[in-house]
C-alpha cells in the first residue's frame, strides 16, 4: 500500500511521527536507525531563550507508563536552528518544531523565527504542558486563550502549517479543538500527558520534585483514543493522534478513530529503535489486513 500521508500541507512518507519531548532533537537517535525512515519528527519543545527545566527527580515509574516533570528544558530555538537542524534529514523527513512560550506575543516572536527556517516543515504549538508554572497547559484549558495563541502563531509563521497540541486535562477536548481550529490551526495533535502524581508511602515524599507531573505510556491509550475520536468528529482539520502507542496495531486504532497520522512518544524510551521498527511493522500489518489506502481506512470505525 502507498503509506504516504498528505495533510494540512505536510507531506509524510508514512503516518509515523515521533512525539515532542521523547525524541530529543532527533540526532540522539541516529545510532538506532535511519531518521529518513520516519514520516515526521517533532523535536523537544523550544522556547525563545534556553530553559533549565525543573529540579530533580523528574521522572518516575508507573504501571504501563511513566510520569515526567521535565519542565521544558531546552537549548532554545536559535541553538536548535544553528546547531541541530542541519544534522537532520529534513528534505526526507518532516521536521516539526514544537513551540513553547509564556505569552501570545512571545509565541508570535517564536513562530516568526522558526517559521522562516527552510528545514522546518511545520510548527506544533504546545499549549498543553502540565509541568511549567506559566503558559503551558493554562493556555490549553481556556478556549479564548488557546485561540489567541493560535492566532499569534498563525499570523507570524510565514505560511508554515500550524499544528496545535491539545491537553486531555479539560472538561471537553472537542470544544478546545474547535476553538483553535476557528482561530486558524491547520491541524491538531493530541493528547499531551495526563496530569498525575506518584508518592512514596514509606518516605512520605512525592516521587517528582515538581510533585505533579504528566502520565504517558500504554496506560493512557484508551483515554487518547476517546479524545481523538471526539475531536475527529468535531473538527474538519487533520488530527494527529498520540498516547501510549506501543505497536503497529495501536497505530491503526488511532487511524480507525479518525487520526491522519500518529506520534509515538514514551515507547521511544522503552527501546530507542522503536519508531524505526514501527514503520516496518505498520507496513507489514497494513498488507496483512488488506487495507487499500488511508482515505478508506481513516475514521472507518463501525459504530
Amino acid at each position: 500500500m502507498d503509506m504516504r500521508v498528505n495533510m494540512a500541507g505536510l507531506k509524510l512518507s508514512n503516518p509515523v511521527m515521533t512525539a515532542s519531548g521523547t525524541f530529543g532533537y532527533g540526532v540522539e537517535f541516529k545510532r538506532y536507525g535511519q531518521l529518513e525512515k520516519l514520516g515526521g519528527l517533532v523535536v523537544k519543545g523550544l522556547s525563545l531563550e534556553p530553559r533549565e527545566g525543573n529540579p530533580m527527580p523528574r521522572i518516575a515509574d508507573a504501571p504501563a507508563g511513566m510520569l515526567n516533570a521535565i519542565g521544558l528544558q531546552n537549548i532554545g530555538a536559535r541553538n536548535f536552528v544553528e546547531k541541530r537542524l542541519q544534522l537532520l534529514p529534513w528534505s526526507e523527513t518532516a521536521v516539526v518544531a514544537n513551540l513553547y512560550a509564556c505569552s501570545a506575543e512571545e509565541f508570535g516572536d517564536l513562530a516568526a523565527y522558526l517559521g522562516q527556517q527552510e528545514g522546518i516543515a511545520a510548527l506544533e504549538v504546545n499549549i498543553s504542558c502540565p509541568n511549567v508554572s506559566s503558559g503551558g497547559v493554562l493556555f490549553g484549558q481556556d478556549p479564548s486563550m488557546a485561540a489567541a495563541v493560535t492566532r499569534a502563531v498563525k499570523d507570524h509563521c510565514g505560511g508554515k502549517p500550524v499544528i496545535v497540541k491539545l491537553t486531555p486535562n479539560v472538561t471537553d477536548i472537542a470544544t478546545m479543538a474547535k476553538s483553535v481550529v476557528d482561530a486558524g490551526a491547520d491541524a491538531v495533535s493530541l493528547i499531551n500527558t495526563l496530569s498525575a502524581m506518584s508518592v512514596d508511602a514509606r518516605t512520605r515524599r512525592p516521587r517528582l520534585a515538581n510533585v505533579i507531573g504528566g502520565l504517558s505510556g500504554p496506560a493512557i491509550k484508551p483515554v487518547a483514543l476517546r479524545c481523538v475520536w471526539q475531536v475527529a468528529q468535531a473538527v474538519d482539520v487533520p488530527v494527529i493522534g498520540m498516547g501510549g502507542i506501543a505497536s503497529a496495531e495501536d497505530v491503526l486504532e488511532f487511524i480507525l478513530v479518525g487520526a491522519s497520522a500518529v506520534q509515538v512518544g514514551t515507547s521511544n524510551f522503552v527501546r530507542p529503535d522503536f519508531a524505526f521498527r514501527l514503520v516496518d511493522e505498520l507496513a507489514a500489518l497494513v498488507d496483512e489486513l488488506g487495507i487499500k489506502n488511508w482515505d478508506e481506512y481513516r475514521g472507518s470505525l463501525a459504530v
Binding site: 530529543g24 534556553p50 530533580m56 515526567n68 521535565i70 500504554p218 514514551t266 530507542p272
Partner: protein
C-alpha cells in the same frame, strides 16, 4: 556509524554473590555479546554503561534500567553487577539463561586512565562494578590503589577478582565508627593524589559528596561516576540531569556518567 546500537539478546548466566541480608542479593548478570560486527562494543571502556530491559518487564516497569558495564567480550559476554533493590532489579534477579533481553549501549563516557599517573580508585558498595575491568586493563597496575567501602559482607562483591591485581583495601562498615574511620581514610589519602595523581570514584551520592568536598578543599579534582534514574539513557528524555557549573542541567547519561568533581554541583 555502527548500525543499530539497540539489540535483542539473551541471558547467558546469573551468578549470585553472598547474601546481602537486609541489603538484598548481589548478582552478576551476563548477557550474550551482540557480536563482533558491533564495533562500539569492541572499543568500550570502563565507566561506560548500558541500558537493559528484559522482556519479562512487560508493562511494569516500562522503562529499562541503566547499569555500569562490568565486563564485555565476545567470549564471556556482557556483564553487569547489581543489588536487588526494587521492582526492576527483582525481575532481573528472576531471569534464567536464554531469557530475552533488549540492551542498548555502550553508553556515556569513561574513566580516564593514565598509566604513568598514581591513581586512587575509590569504590562505595555496588560502585565497585566498573573497577574490576579498569584495574585489569591498566598498563601499570602498580600505580593503582583501590579503597573500597562496603556495608554488606565482602563476599557479596566478588572481591577476589580485584585482589592480586593491585594494592587493594576493603573497609567493612558495621557501625558509625567504621564510617568515621573510612571518611578519615578518604581525608588522608585524597590530598596525596590531588596534585600529581588521578582520583576516580563510583558509589552512592553521600560517598561522592565526601570525595568532592575533600578534593575541593585541597584544590584537586576527582572523576565521579554519577548514577540516576533514567528513561532513555541516550540524552533524549532529560530525566537524569545533574547541575553543571557552566552549562546548567546536563544529562548524566549523555554528558557523563563520569564528571570531573570541580565541574558539577552535587
Amino acid at each position: 556509524m555502527f548500525g543499530n546500537a539497540c539489540q535483542d539478546t539473551t541471558v547467558k548466566s546469573l551468578t549470585r554473590f553472598g547474601k546481602g541480608g537486609a541489603d538484598g542479593e548481589f548478582i552478576e548478570l551476563t548477557l550474550e555479546h551482540p557480536g563482533s560486527d558491533n564495533a562500539a562494543w569492541k572499543s568500550w571502556k570502563p565507566g561506560q554503561f548500558l541500558m537493559v530491559r528484559p522482556e519479562s518487564f512487560g508493562l511494569d516497569p516500562l522503562m529499562g534500567r541503566p547499569f555500569s558495564i562490568t565486563r564485555a567480550d565476545e567470549e564471556q559476554g556482557v556483564s553487569l553487577f547489581f543489588q536487588v533493590m526494587g521492582r526492576g532489579t527483582r525481575k532481573l534477579a528472576a531471569l534464567k539463561p536464554g531469557d530475552p533481553v533488549t540492551m542498548w549501549g555502550p553508553l556515556g563516557n569513561a574513566f580516564v586512565a593514565r598509566k604513568e599517573t598514581p591513581t586512587l580508585v575509590l569504590a562505595g558498595g555496588i560502585g565497585i562494578a566498573p573497577f574490576y575491568e579498569y584495574v585489569k586493563r591498566h598498563d601499570q597496575p602498580e600505580n593503582l590503589r583501590v579503597e573500597f567501602g562496603h556495608r554488606p559482607p565482602l563476599a557479596c562483591y566478588n572481591w577476589e577478582r580485584m585482589q592480586g591485581l593491585c594494592s587493594c583495601g576493603a573497609h567493612h562498615e558495621t557501625c558509625r565508627q567504621d564510617l568515621m574511620d573510612f571518611i578519615a581514610l578518604l581525608e588522608e589519602t585524597i590530598p596525596q593524589y590531588c596534585n600529581d595523581g588521578l582520583i576516580i570514584a563510583c558509589g552512592p551520592l553521600p560517598f561522592l559528596k565526601t570525595i568532592k568536598k575533600v578534593a575541593d578543599a585541597h584544590g584537586g579534582r576527582a572523576q565521579l561516576s554519577l548514577e540516576n534514574h533514567m528513561a532513555c539513557g541516550i540524552g533524549a528524555c532529560l530525566g537524569c540531569v545533574c547541575k553543571h557549573k557552566e552549562d546548567g542541567p546536563v544529562s548524566v547519561c549523555a554528558r557523563g556518567p563520569v564528571f570531573w568533581s570541580d565541574e558539577i554541583e552535587l
